[in-house]
């Protein structure tokens, strides 16, 4: 792999950029792999990368039914934070944040991780209580998260309306300074390039249609639109489609898939310096490097695989944005889109072994998967390589739905991702 650098660009500039390598190749599938990852999103590609880098397993194929990074990786609002309440959640998300910091150098691909700070607004006494509980728990877990007064919140984000005449005046905010954003496509591409460089096959336009098992129940490979491909182990990282793939192996999941929409405004000069989230008025917003305001909405109420949602959801989201930032009514929505998010009953992910030997699943990230990408891939690779979970993802198992040992951030916090 030719290294990316300012010097490489200068060299290429002299020859019309004709000397660049392919970032990843498009090989024909082999007959068999040690590991097949189903789904070439950020989590799947990261899993392949860390399997190759840290566990010495390079005979890997990542199968993607469309184009890599084309699912939720390319459709999310790129928020990164780790100020979760429970030890288990803080553990996995902070593991990710530590990897985000340095990921560009690790991958030799600028993923534009921007620690601009994520500020979560409190609008009532209950919010204040909940956020303070988070801040205290985070502090003792070594995760940064601090309380801001309304004036401090406005100083951190000048467009914020902290007027007492707002419908739900801002009573303060929880700020995670290490939180921020990254460039979503670059994350997928960076992992793809780095994984391919280590020998991983990325096979696009290859849809998995079945999971084949031996007489003793162990996974032997997958049926695909390009024929059967053998594998000793299969990791399913299919986000919204996880239920569908898992059902091919006769595993029914505690998952439901919902449409989640987002939108961007036309690009404008820098006006919004951080990420702001509000659960009570229900919206989140940041500004991309390109200048677009990136705005997230809630899910639609019904399950769907359509990758579209109701206009009224965007409507409510923009109501909330313009309530918090009244100067934005003259801004224009440039583009809106939908993704499919797979949601578990406790709103926490599943990264685990399954009842089927050789089959592993990484799913259930709901609306918050992007931020976990490096951490998720890292511990899921460990789980597959060792046939045993990493201590960080051990709590995120399937058994918890039987025992009741849930990790219910949503119930505990009433905080949206």
């Amino acid at each position: 792999m030719r290294k990316y650098s300012v010097f490489a660009i200068a060299r290429e500039a002299l020859r019309a950029h004709k000397g660049w390598d392919e970032q990843w190749s498009s090989p024909e599938p082999r007959k068999e792999y040690d590991v097949i990852i189903v789904g070439a999103g950020g989590h799947g590609l990261a899993t392949a990368y860390y399997l190759a880098k840290e566990h010495g397993i390079t005979n890997i194929a990542v199968l993607e039914k469309g184009w890599l990074g084309g699912g939720n990786t390319g459709r999310n609002t790129t928020i990164i934070r780790s100020n979760y309440l429970y030890d288990e959640s803080a553990g996995i998300y902070d593991h990710a944040v530590k990897l985000w910091d340095g990921l560009s150098q690790d991958l030799n691909y600028n993923v534009m991780y921007s620690a601009r700070g994520v500020m979560m607004l409190a609008h009532n006494v209950h919010d204040v209580q909940v956020f303070k509980r988070h801040i205290h728990a985070n502090r003792l877990n070594g995760v940064d998260n601090e309380w801001l007064t309304p004036q401090e919140a406005r100083a951190f984000c000048p467009p914020l309306n902290i007027s007492q005449s707002a419908r739900y005046p801002v009573m303060g905010a929880a700020l995670q300074r290490r939180g921020g954003t990254a460039r979503h496509d670059a994350v997928a591409w960076g992992y793809a390039r780095a994984a391919a460089d280590r020998g991983v096959h990325i096979i696009q336009n290859c849809e998995v249609t079945g999971v084949r098992r031996s007489a003793n129940g162990h996974v032997t490979g997958v049926e695909t639109s390009r024929g059967f491909i053998g594998a000793k182990k299969v990791g399913v990282v299919a986000a919204g489609h996880s239920s569908v793939i898992m059902q091919m192996a006769d595993v029914r999941m505690p998952l439901e898939s919902y449409p989640l929409q987002a939108l961007v405004s036309e690009p404008v000069k820098p006006v919004f310096p951080c990420v702001v989230m509000s659960n009570t008025v229900h919206a989140y917003i940041s500004q991309s490097d390109k200048g677009e305001l990136v705005i997230g909405a809630g899910t639609d109420q019904y399950t769907s695989y359509s990758q579209t949602g109701g206009f009224h959801i965007l409507n409510h989201t923009l109501d909330a944005i313009c309530e918090m930032f009244p100067m934005f009514t003259r801004m224009k929505m440039l583009r809106s889109w939908g993704g499919i998010v797979d949601v578990t009953p406790d709103r926490s992910p599943i990264l685990a072994k399954t009842p089927v030997p050789g089959l592993y699943v990484n799913c259930g990230w709901g609306t918050g998967g992007f931020k976990a990408t490096p951490g998720s891939g890292h511990v899921f690779a460990h789980t597959i390589a060792n046939d045993n979970p990493h201590p960080i993802n051990a709590p995120f198992n399937l058994e918890r739905f039987r025992t009741g040992r849930l990790i219910d951030e949503a119930a505990a916090a009433a905080v949206a991702h």
Binding site: A13, S104, T308, T329
Partner: protein
């Protein structure tokens, strides 16, 4: 300045109606009906903007919504600054002030233009490959620099004084697009009496008839027919016609979003909204959105003065403006020739027509030569000259050979027409590539709609009119309507996709595909070389088609170049998704009325005014405003709350409890229903008595709680938490309607029927006694946890004897409209007994002193009754209730769960912070092992010390032990206690 390029006798505007406006501080004159673009062109101004990346000087490409270049800021006043307005769409009004964007210090001399010199460095995706070293420089140096360079206009910085409006509408036929096809289809549909809505994004109907001078319909010039037909439609009661109205989104089940620009074109908008959102649910949708002309991709095709041929025709034929005095044409089809003819006839010199086709045949060639225009067939434009305006073109044979330089002051181009399938595609219809005409056309439909006219690939005007009438008829009755005759001398077919030969070799030239985002043909080729094989990857890597024009002119070229580089046919490379909105939509239009007090309802109780008069400070609880505390002169919150809590226990306090949810449960099986929905036993509760009930979800966690009164054998009055009112009602209805369907029970929400006045404290009975009629309020007749119906102040009441303070207490329910009057009467009595008004904060302290929980504070959706110390509230003999099985799951019955306990700080003056975490041993390294957290914490004036409730792992076993609360600045030592801090005996309930 005068309008030196306004051509006498040309166009449809009335020159007498002069309009003054300014651009970058220079004052100009235009004519009523001008767009900012046509008015600037009339004054000879082509340079209006700078591109996104290279800051190249740019002029007008188009005369419509597809414009990528001519984006300006329009500043009506300090608070009404709108960035990124298309000058080709914005109509001028007297006093309009527009400024150029993305340049410094001025449009003509822009420092950012240096980027253009460095452009070999700024290739597609360059930022992914650099700015990684040194690592710390990304946040501090590189990213701020990138951000400052990016972005176009400047966001407004003041709240918007304008208002926006919205409407839901229904119709039988919705026609999107008011060109010849749309007008014809609306006419046919309207004839049957069906409800028709016809909309168009322009200020006037007519679409391409604005410039298409060759069209004749019903014996009239096309434009005249359009105006007459629309006038006719406007006169019909069953038709609504909307101008300046863009259909921006096509959603499920024929819901189409339209945005109407109501007053942005007016000098004085008055009271009118700025924009209006229409959400139209249509029986049938007719898509008549026309086609968009494509530019030619060749070297330096972006200089001001280089524009689409149809745009130049529009400026001339509609606005009466010549885009130059010596104009060249570069085309790959017939339709651009008409531009040459129109201009020539208006007196503009045509430098040459450069036709990429080797041997074009047809009437237009002859006509051109007949008009004395030089036609260079088989030629290409290899580059353009000029800096802030095109000054020349270099022309060479396609096959190669010496280039000839031809001076021009404008160059008109056309590589053909792209059908506008955006809305069809948004409807989830599938487009199909038509090989013969090299364009995507509507293929498989997903909704009840039909595409007609140019957006359906129908090229000839007579066929368009026939198709439009048929669609209009079929959409309704199917009855045939007489069609007008239609002819046109123009031919819109043909053209080419991708880079023209003049795009040149990659290393020397910039042939722009996407003007705004500065994406060139070579960027697209590079993306493919780097392994981007899906058009989605190519698009995202190069940003082609991702600018504010959403690739209306660039997408097809980009696709063709990628396909060619990949060596694949276009359909195999795919087409990027068309996403809403069609053109950018103002946030305000989407938000509509939902601003200020209409953002979200503010719910106030019947006694809100009374509380306000008595100085209450309010807090938001859900949508409700609740009285939080009642400060007296000089008091802060802490002092007010301390006074109120002491006052209640000393004598009495009055509290507005109206916001609690209330449900009336009626029917012979009401008690059985209660048995199933609550953990408690109900069957033996006597009428007239109350019980505290706990409701679980099926998973066994506490969902809600409240006091329930049994009014009669078959009638319960249930209360819920304030926040739980709606969801508890839904939860009950769900079980009643779908699980316990055998029960004869009906539920009615009575939350808002009854206003509730809580009177709590030793003197409470004395306060209410004089006001109550027909109820014996003695302890014997009305013991703690009872309810009676009677009268108070002469109006009906449900009087509860209950307490959330641990004191003797009553809750007076009266019909809401009486609430304030009864409150005043109670308060008059209360003042005789040294009582106070108290708010939610004092209420919280009082209940915490007694260890009463608040659902949502002590519980958080993961707490069982046992965790909360409420096992006593579970009917031990019950065989079923919602949650009974969930409660028995392994983790819910195992040890190590968090249990509710009291905490007393060793230093009684220290008040813990709510949410603070608890550890067993101080001084642990990070991360510390947390074993619990503080759920409630107050200074208790009645206990004379701080008190707290907490959930602690195995907390009830730790009573008497010392634990620690590590704070940033110190560690607080606490003792674990029971949950009752004040008067454990409970005798005060009975005075």
């Amino acid at each position: 300045m005068t309008e030196t390029f306004r051509m006498a006798g040309a166009g449809r505007l009335t020159p007498a109606k002069a309009v003054r406006f300014s651009f970058d501080g220079t004052s100009y004159q235009g004519v009523a009906g001008d767009t900012l673009a046509s008015a600037l062109l009339a004054n000879g101004v082509h340079l209006v903007g700078r591109s996104f990346k290279y800051h190249r000087p740019r002029g007008f490409l188009s005369a419509g919504a597809e414009e990528p270049n001519a984006l300006v800021g329009v500043h009506r006043d300090a608070a009404r600054r709108t960035p990124n307005v298309r000058a080709t769409v914005q109509e001028i009004y007297d006093g309009l002030s527009a400024v150029s964007q993305n340049r410094w210090p001025s449009l003509a001399y822009d420092i950012g233009e240096a980027n253009d010199l460095g452009s070999p460095f700024f290739s597609a995706g360059f930022y992914y490959k650099t700015f990684m070293w040194p690592k710390a420089a990304w946040d501090k140096v590189y990213e701020p620099f990138i951000r400052r360079a990016a972005g176009l206009g400047v966001a407004p910085d003041e709240p918007d004084p304008d208002h926006y409006s919205s409407l839901y509408a229904h119709c039988d036929v919705l026609v999107l697009g008011g060109g010849a096809a749309g007008i014809a289809t609306a006419t046919a549909a309207a004839a049957s009496g069906a409800r028709v809505i016809l909309c168009d994004e322009q200020a006037e109907f007519g679409g391409a008839l604005r410039f298409e001078t060759g069209a004749r319909i019903d014996g009239k010039p096309g434009w005249d027919w359009a105006q007459a037909s629309v006038a006719n439609l406007k006169g019909r009661e069953n038709v609504r016609v909307l101008t300046r109205t863009t259909a921006f989104g096509y959603y499920a089940q024929n819901l189409v979003g339209l945005v109407e620009r109501v007053s942005d074109h007016l000098a004085t908008p008055g009271d009118q909204p700025r924009e209006r959102l229409w959400q139209v649910r249509a029986g049938k949708v007719v898509i008549a959105t026309g086609a968009i002309e494509r530019h030619m991709v060749f070297a330096d095709n972006d200089r001001p003065g280089v524009m689409l041929a149809s745009a130049a025709r529009t400026y001339l034929n509609h606005y009466g403006v010549a885009v130059g005095r010596n104009v060249g044409i570069f085309t790959a089809n017939d339709s651009a020739y008409a531009a040459a003819f129109d201009l020539k006839k208006a007196g503009v010199q045509i430098a040459a027509i450069v036709d990429l086709r080797d041997d074009p045949r047809g009437a237009v060639i002859e006509e051109a030569r007949g008009l004395g225009i030089e036609v260079l067939t088989g030629h290409t434009v290899t580059k353009t000259g000029g800096r802030l305006r095109v000054s020349s073109i270099a022309v060479a044979p396609n096959a190669g050979g010496a280039a000839r330089v031809i001076p021009v002051d404008a160059l008109l181009m056309s590589s053909g027409w792209t059908p506008s399938v955006h809305l069809f595609s948004q409807s989830r219809g599938k487009v199909a590539f038509d090989d013969a005409t090299q364009r995507f056309l509507p293929g498989q439909y997903a909704q009840d709609c039909v595409s007609i006219g140019a957006c359906n690939g129908t090229d000839t005007l007579d066929a368009v009119i026939e198709e439009a009438y048929a669609a209009g008829e079929n959409a309704v009755s199917g009855t045939k309507v007489l069609r007008p005759a239609a002819t046109t001398s123009e031919n819109w077919t043909g053209g080419m996709l991708g880079a023209a030969p003049g795009a040149g070799p990659d290393d020397t030239v910039k042939a722009f595909v996407d003007f705004q985002n500065d994406v060139t043909a070579k960027d697209l080729r590079q993306a493919v070389r780097e392994g981007m094989r899906s058009i989605e990857h190519v698009k995202r890597f190069t940003t082609n088609g991702m600018a504010t024009d959403q690739g209306k002119t660039s997408n097809m070229h980009g696709l063709a170049i990628a396909a060619e580089t990949l060596g694949k046919p276009i359909p195999e490379v795919g087409l990027t998704t068309f996403r809403a909105p069609y053109t950018p939509v103002t946030f305000g239009a989407i938000v509509g009325h939902s601003r200020g007090s209409l953002f979200d309802p503010t719910r106030r109780t019947a006694m809100h005014g009374f509380a306000e008069k008595n100085g209450a400070v309010f807090e938001d609880v859900g949508q409700w405003k609740r009285a939080w505390y009642f400060p007296q002169a000089g008091e802060d919150m802490h002092q007010a709350v301390a006074r109120e809590t002491k006052n209640v226990r000393r004598s009495a306090g009055i509290f507005d409890a109206s916001t609690l949810g209330k449900i009336e449960i009626v029917g012979p099986d009401a008690a059985q229903f209660m048995e199933l929905l609550y953990t408690n036993p109900w069957a033996k509760l006597e009428p007239g008595r109350c019980r505290y009930g706990i409701m679980l979800r099926e998973d066994g966690f506490i969902y809600d709680d409240g006091v329930v009164g049994r009014l009669a054998d078959d009638r319960f009055h249930v209360t819920t938490t304030t926040g739980g009112a709606a969801r508890v009602m839904n939860h009950m209805e769900d079980y009643l309607q779908t699980e316990f369907t055998h029960l004869k029970v009906y539920l009615t929400s009575i939350s808002e029927q009854w206003a509730v006045i809580a009177v709590q404290g030793p003197k409470s009975r004395e306060i209410i006694a004089p006001l109550v009629e027909g109820i014996d309020v003695s302890d014997a007749a009305l013991p703690h946890m009872s309810v009676r119906e009677g009268k108070i102040c002469g109006v009906p009441t449900r009087l509860f004897r209950m307490s959330f303070t641990g004191e003797r207490g009553f809750e007076i329910n009266v019909p809401a409209d009486y609430g304030e009057a009864v409150m005043e009467a109670v308060w008059a009595e209360a003042r005789k007994h040294d009582a106070c008004l108290y708010g939610t904060e004092a209420m919280h302290v009082l209940r915490a002193e007694k260890g009463y929980i608040i659902v949502g504070q002590e519980t958080d959706g993961t707490v069982t009754p046992n965790d909360a110390g409420l096992d006593w509230a579970i009917g031990k003999k019950k065989t079923d209730f919602v949650g009974i099985r969930g409660l028995r799951r392994p983790d819910l019955v195992s040890g190590g769960r968090k249990q509710l306990v009291g905490l007393k700080t060793v230093d009684p003056n220290v008040v813990l912070e709510e949410g603070a975490q608890i550890v067993a041993t101080p001084g642990q390294p990070m991360p510390m092992k947390m074993i619990g957290h503080v759920t409630s914490s107050y200074w208790s004036p009645n206990c004379g010390r701080s008190i707290a409730l907490a959930l602690v792992v195995d907390g009830r076993d730790k009573i008497g032990e010392r634990l620690f609360v590590p704070m940033p600045d110190r560690v607080i030592e606490v003792e674990v206690t029971g949950t009752v801090f004040f008067e454990e005996s409970g005798e005060r309930l009975n005075g």
